[in-house]
Subunit: 144 residues, 2 copies
DNA sequence: TTGCTAATGCGAGTGATTTGCAATAGGTGT
DNA sequence: ACACCTATTGCAAATCACTCGCATTAGCAA
């Protein structure tokens, strides 16, 4: 399993180990990613980065996120038809997203263990419940 | 539950009942959708429709699919980063998709009943396991 | 056959991301 | 401190999957 990066320094070290360079955009982006556990789109992250360094281009954010994902530092997930959202790989989890109000529930992997077992025994299929959110209705929207 | 359309005629009748018109593009598209149980993108469907009627535009396919989805005749699902895939609503099911080779496994809803129960009791969340595929590895790719 | 308006073709627009390319800047060796 | 190599960046343009505006066409009810 790649990307044993639980701190900003670990992540930068990982970048260096793979022949990458520690640039200011990388440093700022990683600091922002490590500063909260939120799920943010590339554009939102670009906004936060640009608050510190206005010249950093959105495409640089995309390229950095791509590289960090290849290194296993970040992952992205899809919550619906909008843009992908990125978060640190150290906190992998499943996602329940309400189709009506967009509410996000972070779900421990253990919630999928029954499905994982059944998928494996019945189809030999190994599920990865992180990439696409499980859509549905939150309690508020389901009862409303 | 809308869209009790198990035959082409039912679907056309449903269109009429909602003030829609039975156009040749609609008729051809529905015939193609009913002719197989496959999962096809709008562009693939357009190709098949255009084999019969070359003048039917891709945007017409999108608009027809949108309308048919509103009527509950078809549904779309996402299998990865590519285009959405459409199929008849009469055969709703979950999807397991291999991230490596793209293999698709159609999964009966019952496979998600355990997860549905747990999601409901622990978060009051009602899952809808149809829209996004569950990604992972098929048996061939997992062992390879 | 007429008239109303849903539906279509076509082109342009949008949102999210990707790519080509010349300029810039990390980092390594001296 | 300096030179050099090449990873990285800014910027613009391209791409992919749709989505929309609009003038024209065509279902279908009267």
């Amino acid at each position: 399993m790649p990307g044993e990066a639980s701190t900003l320094e670990d992540a930068l070290e990982l970048v260096r180990q793979h022949g990458g360079r520690v640039t200011s955009s990388r440093r700022i982006l990683l600091r922002i990613l490590f500063s909260s556990t939120g799920h943010r789109s590339a554009e939102e992250l670009a906004g936060e980065v640009q608050a510190e360094a206005p010249d950093i281009h959105l495409s640089t954010i995309y390229r950095n996120l791509e590289e960090l994902e290849r290194l296993g530092v970040v992952v992205h997930a899809h919550f619906g038809h909008g843009p992908a959202t990125y978060h640190l790989a150290t906190s992998v989890h499943g996602h329940f997203v309400c189709e009506e109000c967009g509410t996000l529930i972070e779900v421990p992997d253990s919630m999928f263990s029954g499905l994982a077992r059944d998928a494996s025994t019945r189809f030999g299929f190994t599920i990865d419940p992180h990439h696409f959110a499980m859509l549905g209705r939150c309690s508020a929207c389901a009862t409303g």
